[in-house]
């Protein structure tokens, strides 16, 4: 007789969670299919991982994205149910050209800084 309440408890606690995940997944599926391929997107997954990626394909099974990394990595599939947030990335991050410019500026700055210290310490 005590098994029945236990089963009821499992069902009542677990069911809303599954339903919620499923509903959210459906929403992201619908949203993703309205985003143009090639769009830069920002994703946050249920394990806390945050990824900026290029949208390659959004089909019924999942989202296919290419993470924006320094060294290219393969296209990856993400299940809609794993998405916590999904938005277009407006490109406020650092592109390759900007990275090169900052890197060169850092190098030049470091060199000039060294030179200035050298000059300042000459007796």
């Amino acid at each position: 007789m005590r098994v029945l309440p236990a089963l009821l408890l499992i069902i009542t606690m677990a069911a809303p969670s599954f339903a919620q995940t499923q509903a959210q997944g459906d929403l992201w599926r619908a949203f993703a299919q309205k985003v143009d391929v090639g769009t830069r997107v920002k994703l946050r997954l249920d394990d806390g991982q945050r990824v900026v990626a290029t949208l390659i394909e959004a089909n019924a099974d999942g989202l296919f994205v290419q993470p924006r990394t320094r060294v290219p990595v393969p296209v990856q599939r993400i299940a809609y149910e794993r998405i916590v947030s999904f938005e277009r990335d407006e490109g406020r991050g650092i592109g390759a050209a900007k990275a090169v410019a900052i890197g060169v500026a850092s190098g030049v700055g470091a060199f000039l800084g060294t030179l200035l210290i050298l000059i300042a310490t000459i007796d």
Partner: protein, 221 residues
């Protein structure tokens, strides 16, 4: 008991959901870099306050170094480095006590030059990005050469003879093994080339004795 089991099962089901059914997105390339080589220039400040005379404690000079690192994981790197410095000068005064008379002083100019070799472990933050801060530490062996130029004594009372003066041996070379900590960042300018800058401090039982700021370039292999 069935109720307890039910709680456990429910907790597992509600928190587990679909997560962990699929691996997280991997940002590690198929063929990640294994080695990291870099060269740098910088500026060293070193404390010599243990010398036992009056005057400057710290000297500063140019420093240059090379390093080779081996990635154990995408985040963890072991590294060996070697470096040399220019000659840093300090001015110190030695007090020579005279019985029954004011002391006499003798100036000394010390010219320090050091070389180091060290090994450490570094943690590199972020995955496969353009900007990677890092922090780590290790042990380094320091060879320090101290060349001393001794000036004639001053403050001498005319007609009063000085006691026999000993001249410190020059150059003196000392060796020491010291722990170090370091932090900085790598800014990639291409897939495998970066600009790196950082600061490193090594310690003796007097505290931080050698602090060096470096900036340089390097590459992943």
């Amino acid at each position: 008991m069935p109720l307890a089991a039910a709680f456990l099962a429910a907790a597992f089901l509600t928190t587990g959901t679909a997560a962990a059914q699929q691996p997280a997105i991997s940002l590690t390339p198929a063929d990640p870099a294994r080695w990291d080589i870099a060269g740098s220039v910088g500026w060293l400040g070193a404390d010599t306050s243990g010398a036992g005379t009056i005057g400057d404690d710290w000297y500063d000079t140019f420093a240059g170094a090379v390093s080779i690192g081996r990635y154990v994981t995408p985040h963890l790197k072991t590294e060996i480095h070697g470096g040399m410095t220019g000659e840093g000068r300090i001015y110190r005064v030695e007090e020579l006590p005279l019985p029954g008379a004011p002391p006499v002083f003798r100036a000394q100019e010390h010219y320090f030059r050091s070389a180091t070799i060290g090994a450490g472990v570094f943690y590199q933050f972020f995955d496969n990005q353009w900007f990677h801060p890092f922090a780590g530490g290790g042990i380094e062996v320091l060879r320090e050469r101290d060349r001393v130029e001794v000036q004639p004594p001053f403050g001498q009372v005319p007609g009063r003879a000085l006691p026999p003066l000993t001249t410190p041996p020059s150059p003196q070379v000392t060796y020491a093994a010291r722990p170090f900590v370091a932090t900085g960042f790598k800014w990639y300018v291409a897939e495998c080339a970066f600009v790196r800058t950082g600061i490193q401090a090594s310690f003796s039982n007097h505290g931080a004795t050698h602090v060096v700021w470096t900036a340089g370039i390097g590459g992943d292999l």
